[in-house]
Amino acid sequence: MQRSDHSIVRAVLAGDKEAYGALVRAHSATVFRVAFRIAGNEADAEEIVQEAFLRGYQRLEGYQGRSAFGTWIYRIAVNCALNRIGQPGVEAEYRHGDESDPEEKTVQVATKDADPERVLLSKEISAAQDTAMRRLTPTEKSAFVLRHLEERTTSEIAEVLNIAPNAAKQAVFRAVQKLRRELAPLRGNA
């Protein structure tokens, strides 16, 4: 029978360090997904996963079990990602490349249409989108990623980012306005 996350947490707090491994195994894929979507590259996402679970362990005594462990660690991961993309010299990257290449931090995207002109245009749009995403503030970017890609509700975003629901909603609106404004010329040409 599988143990619940809460009983695992109790076991860890009682001194069973190995039990934490079960929580890491159960939630690392979800944490990686949101970390990648905010940071935009695999290397940073991997580090965010490590940092989130480490911080989670260090703060485990403060976990009161009011929310599921998965929600709690997700929130920590978003905050780690937020700090990381805000650090000088670390920029979220959303580059679409021709080949998956960890060195180049690019990800392969399958193209349905082989027409070179369309491929070029698609690359231009992707580049413009990357730039537009980079111009968002960390809060706007995280709120937008959570809303648009992670499909979280406003109240969930507010909880994860630890801000008021209205502030979360406004952050999404500002991100949408900025992205639409920046991408409008290209969409018009497309």
Partner: protein, 247 residues
């Protein structure tokens, strides 16, 4: 009903719009056309697919993490626990005695002086604390209005102050909201957005500050805070019961 704003259309796109907005969208051609444009542009925003992790990914994360973790101490039982429990109980008893003694003393001295019109001490303290918070936020917003320099130290100070205020602001907002003080809750809510932007931007630059000023109408919020501070100061100095939240 007026036409829907882009923000309302965005809310509808994310299935969080009001039923009135939904009904308007169905009835209004102009809004329907604008909604199609919003939808098209949002549909087109994509990011690279998330790279797949293998089934052993969790194991790999755990392998790297495991050596860095120090086990929590096992809960000790027996005499040490009894000693701790006895200590806690003694402290609690002492605190209760001090509290009850204080209450008795307060009642006796209040009866002697017969000052019926003095507002409850707790409310005066609350108003002083809230006024202090509003003072600090006002100072921060004024600094924000004039911050144009590229001085990183000044920006870091601004950010550190915003981080401190963000935590207390959240508490005041929730309390104001629970107490039904919509004016105060609304202003603190808008203020929280500004504080979050400043606090969460570790490389806060002059350009970022400029952007926050423009995007979030900090001048308007500053005005609101000044009005609220004046209200709070009036209540603080007025004898009798104070209006507003109890924090």
């Amino acid at each position: 009903m007026n036409h829907l704003t882009d923000d309302e259309l965005t809310e509808l796109y994310y299935a969080e719009g009001t039923s009135a907005a939904n009904a308007h969208l169905k009835a209004c051609r102009e809004c329907s056309a604008q909604y199609s444009r919003v939808k098209r542009s949002l549909d087109a925003i994509d990011t690279p697919p998330v790279p797949q992790r293998g089934a052993d990914y969790g194991d790999r994360v755990w392998e790297t993490l495991q050596p860095r973790l120090i086990p929590f101490e096992k809960k000790t039982r027996g005499w040490a626990n009894w000693k701790a429990a006895a200590l806690v109980a003694s402290c609690a008893l002492l605190l209760s005695a001090v509290f009850l003694g204080g209450r008795y003393w307060e009642r006796v001295s209040t009866n002697k002086t017969s000052i019926a019109s003095t507002p409850p001490t707790s409310q005066r303290v609350i108003l002083v604390v809230l006024t202090d918070h509003l003072d600090r936020t006002e100072r921060l917003l004024v600094q924000l209005e004039h911050a144009g320099s590229k001085d990183r130290t000044a920006n870091a100070e601004l950010q550190s102050e915003a981080q401190e205020l963000l935590a207390s602001n959240r508490l005041y907002r929730v309390t104001a909201s629970n107490a039904g003080d919509r004016e105060l809750a609304g202003a603190l809510d808008r203020l929280e957005g500004v504080l979050a932007e400043i606090a969460n931007d570790p490389k806060l630059s002059a350009a970022d500050i400029e952007r926050v000023r423009n995007d979030m109408n900090t001048k308007g919020i500053l005005f609101e805070i000044r009005v609220l501070r004046a209200r709070s100061s009036d209540e603080e100095s007025r004898p009798g019961a104070a209006k507003g939240v109890t924090i």
